[in-house]
């Protein structure tokens, strides 16, 4: 696509910097310190799960832990708690792996409306998401320190699922947990260098939406989901 006005704009910057234009050959120096790598260095997976659980209290997020066999029940409890009459979920290969497929069938049998994201249906997906009670996705990378789930949004995992419904559930395979955002962005950086296309939307989501704009009172739930549950599940 078009790039306009670039040459004169950048030439002017170079001039003000007192040198000629740099068009190539700039390398990032090695920084003198790297404190980001020290956070939870050497923690085991279980220790990181504990860190995550603690952080969930800070970010007003419910935390559950289960194994593959127990996942369906925990999901059902959560949907019930949210009085969910309608669910929108990502179209994800892990749905089958973790038996979410059969969970959704079970919910439908119980009279809950379930919509699995279907790229072919275009804006219909958004319309459903807007009125849905619950959105469900997997986490692609989970950041223990901040209590963050990372989604690489894609044509099967629309941005709306974790955004428009009143409540949101993230299913977190235990192996996706890393100490902090450092590890996730390093992964993206390296993938990009290897020529992989970065997702059009990388969403780092930390609990429910909130605001402190009215007299500095924390209000949980503004434009995005009002309630959020994380379910950590032992890997299959």
């Amino acid at each position: 696509m078009a790039i306009q006005n670039r040459e004169s704009f950048l030439n002017n910057l170079a001039e003000n910097l007192g040198r000629s234009r740099r068009k190539e050959g700039v390398e990032r120096p090695e920084w003198s310190v790297s404190p980001q790598w020290e956070v939870y260095q050497g923690y085991s997976e279980d220790q990181l799960v504990d860190v995550l659980e603690k952080q969930c209290k800070v970010i007003h997020t419910d935390f559950r832990k289960t194994d593959a066999a127990g996942l369906q029940d925990v999901l059902k409890e959560t949907v019930d708690r949210y009085q969910g009459k309608s669910i929108i979920a990502a179209d994800d290969s892990r749905n089958q792996e973790y038996s979410l497929d059969s969970f959704y069938q079970r919910m439908e049998a119980d009279g809950v409306e379930v919509h699995i994201w279907d790229a072919g249906k275009g804006k219909e997906n958004q319309v459903f998401a807007e009125r849905a009670d619950v959105g469900i996705t997997f986490s692609d990378a989970t950041l223990a320190e901040s209590g963050t789930v990372t989604l690489f949004n894609s044509k099967g995992n629309g941005r709306s699922i974790s955004l428009l419904p009143k409540t949101y559930i993230a299913v977190i395979p235990k192996s996706t947990i890393v100490p902090r955002i450092t590890q996730a962005t390093k992964h993206i950086h390296e993938a990009n260098q290897q020529g992989h296309e970065v997702s059009s939307c990388v969403s780092f989501i930390t609990g429910p939406s909130n605001s402190a704009d009215i007299e500095m009172n924390l209000i949980v739930g503004v434009h995005g989901p009002i309630k959020v549950t994380y379910i950590v599940v032992e890997d299959k």
Binding site: M1, Q4, N5, R6, F9, L13, L17, R21, R22, K23, E24, V26, W31, S32, V33, S34, P35, Q36, Q55, I59, W117, A119, K123, E145, S146, T148, N153, S154, K155, R159, S160, L163, I181, T185, K186, H189, E197, V198, S199, S200, C201, V202, S203, F204, T206, P208, S209, N210, S211, A212, D213, I214, E215, M216, N217, I219, G221, V222, H223, G224
Partner: protein, 474 residues
């Protein structure tokens, strides 16, 4: 609105600020909470000074190679289906955006909070061109309904209480519930959902762009920026030309510094990195994406002694630490950028003529510099501004001019400088009478003969201001 807000004199604005009891109470409690949040978040990390050093190094390197990284960024955005426009002035940026909207036949624009669009006066330009513009950040929406300028860069409606907000909602939107913050927020959610769903254009600012892949990153809590970038078919992102990092690895460092310094959170609820247009088969996200990169006076700062002012990541930590801001509130600065960073940046972007009081709206206590996550020497910049103003005006008595020179020399050796700033409060004590230095040591002597030099204490802005009122500032 441009960078300037209001037409009242500095004097008048300060008076208004000091008179407004609610505002002052709100500002000081907000400052306290922001500060303790920031300090706690910094403490948790343990090695905060290393983080600051890292932040400073990244910002430094980026600014030194700004032409290279902006070229890389624009190439990457273009590769991912986005158009890039480099705007040297506010007018160029506004014209371009107007044209995009016209071509798309856009009627309704939803916006997420963005300082740079306020700086260039985008809303006004769009409204004049016939678009309906809706600010969707809760604080900004409140201000938009009330046609009031922001007073803080993180919580823009800090000067309003909930009763005032309830009244605004009632008068402008027919709201009939209580002034409970939750109810007010729920009402905003319902009202704004309609706007999101019917908007054809989404406009955002940009916290950090990532040069290596062309991503723009938005750091928010409410989720409105996600809606703005997920639902409308056209997305326009406006960024100040300095708001970028080389790689994703650097991105996370600055995001971590920003969220901790701004709100004391490890990360905000939403950190969203968006690249180009939606991909084949995707439903959410724009089919057309424009990145507008704005200079608007910034390039004049490059290569000068003020270059590090461009390192600012707009976290407001300096504002929350500032005793003067506490007294006078955000509107007193007469600029959309208040507080210490506003006092440094506004004269650089908009000239000294209308902002020459700003560098004096400081006690030089250095709390700002200590708070800054990317180590911008804010109070040193303020001192330098004062020197320039004195030199420029050339009205000052000869003795004073000499003193300023001596001060520059004195201040340029790091050890002496430390004396003059951090330790100033104790070092200058013997000379301090009624919070004003009357007979400073060394080069300050002549300076203080000609003019009371504000003592670096918590009260000195007030005394400076008082003496200014008495007229000995002319």
């Amino acid at each position: 609105m441009s960078i300037r807000i209001g037409t009242n004199s500095f004097e008048h604005r300060v008076q208004e600020g000091i008179k407004n009891d609610f505002m002052r109470g709100a500002v000081s409690s907000a400052q306290g909470r922001f500060r303790s949040g920031r300090l706690k978040a910094a403490e948790e990390l343990g090695n905060w000074e290393d983080w600051r050093t890292l932040g400073e190094e990244i910002r430094n390197h980026t600014m030194e190679n700004l032409d290279f990284y902006l070229q890389q960024l624009s190439d990457q955005v273009s590769k991912r289906g986005g158009s890039v426009f480099f705007a040297e002035t506010a007018e160029e940026a506004n014209d371009y955006i107007q044209n995009v909207i016209k071509k798309k036949n856009g009627k309704k624009v939803v916006k997420s909070k963005s300082m740079v669009t306020e700086e260039i006066g985008l809303n006004k330009a769009l409204e004049e061109a016939g678009s309906e513009v809706v600010e969707t950040d809760l604080g900004e929406w409140i201000l938009q309904l009330d046609e009031d300028p922001p007073s803080h860069i993180v919580t823009p409606a800090l000067h309003k209480n909930k009763e005032q907000i309830r009244e605004t909602f009632a008068a402008k939107k027919g709201y009939d519930k209580t002034d409970k913050p939750e109810e007010l927020a729920l009402f905003a959610r319902e009202q704004l959902r309609k706007d999101f769903l019917s908007a054809d254009i989404g406009i955002t600012g940009c916290n950090f762009a990532v040069a290596e892949s062309g991503a723009v990153t938005l750091v928010t809590n409410e989720g409105n920026a996600r809606l703005v970038t997920s639902l409308p078919d056209t997305q326009i992102t406006v960024m100040g030309m300095e708001r970028l990092v080389p790689t994703w690895e650097d991105l996370e460092v600055l995001v971590s510094l920003l969220t901790r310094s701004a709100v004391g959170q490890k990360l905000t609820s939403y950190v969203t990195s968006l690249t180009g247009t939606r991909l084949e088969g995707e439903v959410d996200g724009p089919e057309e994406f424009h990145l507008v990169i704005v200079d608007n006076g910034r390039s004049k700062i490059l290569g000068t002694e003020f270059q590090s002012a461009l390192h600012c990541i707009r976290c407001a930590a300096c504002i929350n630490a500032c005793p003067v801001y506490r007294h006078v509130g955000g509107h007193s600065y007469g600029s959309i950028y208040p507080g210490p960073i506003g006092a440094v940046l506004t004269p650089l972007l908009d000239g000294y003529d209308d902002h020459k009081e700003l560098p004096y709206a400081s006690t030089l206590c250095a709390a700002c510099t200590e708070a800054c996550p990317v180590k911008i020497p804010l109070h040193e910049h303020l001192i330098r501004h004062r020197q320039i103003i004195v030199e420029k005006e050339n009205k000052a008595p000869k003795a004073e001019k000499l003193a300023m020179k001596g001060f520059a020399k004195w201040g340029s050796s790091p050890a002496a400088y430390k004396m003059s700033t951090k330790m100033a409060r104790t070092a200058l004590k013997p000379w301090t009478k009624d919070e004003k230095i009357e007979n400073g040591p060394g080069p300050m002597k002549a300076w203080t003969d000609a003019r009371d030099f504000p003592a670096p204490s918590k009260q000195s802005f007030r005394s400076w201001y008082k003496s200014r009122r008495k007229g000995d500032e002319s």
